[in-house]
């Protein structure tokens, strides 16, 4: 497994604001990588630097196979967050034009364009002016023009955020196919999309990498047993729950290693506890509740999802 792209300490400052602050990661050849983060995390800034549209303040990007002119743009296919085109061209013409700009001959570009408009599903509209395209069609056209020269690395900024649920699923299916042929890096703020598609995930927050690695590994390593508890919404139950959670937190503050609970969170009449030993913790909870005559409506044992982890990493 070789690294196609190594990003080292990449930083971009706009004035005094550091939009990207010393990001460090590698993209392995053939992998699909998601750049995950909330709004304003620095995803677009990072991607624009990789695409060469933005000059970094400091740091380096090393592309495998880039010529010694530092010309890595030939290796990249780029789809911006909201792509716009020459609206007076037809979709087909634009893909051909993009291909020719990447060094294809007119015949090669036409051949490639023909296949691609078919593949991304705009063949029917390929002869129409782009000005008449819907947002979803533009997204597909953007994908086609990014792929026309068979790039080594496909870089996309929120490729599915602007699409309706059906368009979203179609484009995700398309990406699933594409990732078998090329290395893919895309940004998203939806964990679900990353999970559905990617091998690796890089979670960024306020311009820094908060967590990165293979999704599988993260899921396994960070998996914790969880107990979800729901009570009936009466005064005494609520009071008890608040008190109980307070006790747990106090214990934690005192660094009591014997505590069965790692974290406890309360939302209205419900709470979720991350625990070390499920059985013991369950026993203790039920015992406490029975003694205080608390009205349980639901008690559920499960595992923390990646979503919980994401929320935790991003929300901290």
């Amino acid at each position: 497994m070789t690294a196609l792209l190594e990003v080292k300490d990449l930083t971009k400052a706009f004035g005094t604001v550091k939009a990207v602050d010393g990001i460090h990661f590698t993209i392995a050849e053939g992998h699909c990588v998601a750049l995950l983060g909330p709004n304003g995390a620095g995803k677009t800034t990072t991607i624009r630097m990789i695409a060469g549209l933005l000059k970094q303040t400091s740091g380096q990007m090393v592309f495998k196979g880039a010529g010694n002119r530092g010309e890595h743009r030939e290796l990249i296919g780029y789809l911006p967050q909201t792509p716009s085109f020459h609206n007076w061209m037809t979709g087909f013409e634009f893909v051909v034009y993009a291909g020719q700009l990447c060094g294809l001959t007119s015949a090669e570009a036409k051949k490639s364009a023909k296949e691609l408009v078919e593949r991304v599903g705009i063949a029917g509209a390929a002869k129409r002016r782009i000005g008449s395209y819907s947002g979803g069609m533009k997204q597909r056209l953007g994908l086609a023009q990014a792929l026309v020269h068979r790039p080594k690395l496909l870089v996309m900024d929120e490729p599915v955020s602007a699409l309706d649920p059906i368009g979203r699923r179609e484009v995700l299916d398309l990406l699933r196919e594409l990732k078998r042929e090329t290395t893919v890096l895309f940004s998203t703020h939806v964990l679900h999309d990353a999970e559905a598609l990617c091998d690796d995930v890089i979670i960024i927050r306020e311009g820094k990498v908060a967590l990165q690695g293979a999704i599988e590994t993260i899921r396994d390593e960070r998996r914790k047993p969880i107990i979800n508890l729901q009570l009936e919404n009466d005064e005494s139950s609520r009071q008890w729950l608040a008190l109980f959670i307070q006790t747990i937190r106090d214990e934690k503050r005192l660094a009591n290693q014997l505590s069965l609970f790692e974290t406890a969170e309360q939302h209205e009449g419900a709470a979720s506890f991350a625990v070390k030993d499920v059985d013991a913790a369950r026993q203790l909870l039920i015992g406490e509740m029975a003694r205080n005559q608390i009205k349980i409506s639901k008690l559920e044992v499960g595992h923390s999802s990646l979503e919980d982890l994401f929320m935790k990493v991003v929300g901290e």
């Binding site: 010694n68 020459h86 034009y97 700009l101």
Partner: protein, 280 residues
């Protein structure tokens, strides 16, 4: 273009140059197609042709028009001396200098800033093309439009002047057209520079027209000191058209200076484009 030969590069420099030249041609082709699709290729030359025809025709019919204006007392004899054909040609060039230039600048003001504003440039400039090829392709297509319109309009004017007023030797017209074309090219180049520099197309047009006006004004205010500047070119062109004989050494100085300034401006525009990409 030989500059690349001395780079110690593993890539074959000639093949790199040709491939980059081909991409430049592709972009020129795209620019021309855009001009055609937006009908600029039609209406800009049309404006020049109309201006070119109007000058001799209105000169020819001026007495008739005045007669019908009706504000003159009965029996007034109107006696306007008919100008020479050469003078009419010079007047035509002056028409091109106002309305014609305005139309040209308006047609080209958004050439770079418009693409940046709409965001297309984000998709185009990530392709492996150089900023100078991008700018040069714009420049080439703008100059083609300017020269084509000028030639069409001037030819029409020459023809109708010959028909209605008096023949002028075509060489005289031809020389003045070359000089005037160079002036229009300079204005197009300024427009391109400002279109790259400024975010708004309207501001680019305003700055370009203002710049052109300044250059002409300065050269006409100080003809002795500033006769070698680009702003003097239009004056030389009028002189040439009206069968005058301008000082040939000043004229050639102005031509050389203008060409150098234009090359400088395109390089500056390319540099600016590269820099603004980095800063955005």
């Amino acid at each position: 273009m030989k500059g690349a030969a001395n780079t110690s590069n593993k890539l074959d420099p000639t093949s790199f140059m040709t491939s980059s030249f081909i991409r430049y041609l592709v972009m020129v082709q795209k620019e021309l197609l855009e001009q055609a699709r937006s009908y600029k290729l039609l209406w800009v030359p049309l404006v020049f042709v109309l201006l070119g025809i109007m000058q001799p025709v209105s000169t020819y019919y001026m007495p008739v028009i005045l007669e019908h204006a009706g504000s003159l007392p009965e029996g007034t004899v109107i006696d306007i001396p008919m100008p020479l054909g050469a003078e009419v040609l010079a007047q035509t060039l002056q028409q091109f200098g106002t309305l014609g230039m305005l139309v040209l600048v308006l047609a080209c003001m958004g050439t770079v800033s418009g693409e940046r504003l709409s965001g297309v440039s984000a998709i185009i400039l990530v392709k492996p093309i150089s900023a100078s090829a991008y700018i040069s392709s714009k420049w080439t297509s703008m100059l083609l439009l300017a020269w084509g319109s000028l030639a069409a309009g001037y030819l029409a004017s020459w023809y109708y002047t010959g028909l209605l007023i008096g023949e002028t030797p075509i060489v005289q017209a031809y020389e003045s057209m070359l000089v005037y074309g160079l002036w229009l090219s300079a204005v197009m180049t300024i427009t391109l520079l400002f279109s790259t520099w400024l975010r708004s197309s309207a501001a680019a047009a305003f700055a370009a027209l203002g710049g052109a006006l300044m250059l002409t004004l300065l050269a006409s205010l100080f003809p002795k000191q500033l006769g070698w500047t680009p702003g003097a070119l239009s004056g030389f062109a009028y002189q040439l058209a009206a069968a005058g004989t301008p000082d040939s050494s000043t004229l050639s100085a102005a031509v050389v200076v203008t060409i150098v300034c234009m090359l400088g401006s395109i390089s500056l525009a390319a540099l600016q484009l590269r820099k603004s990409l980095a800063a955005e």
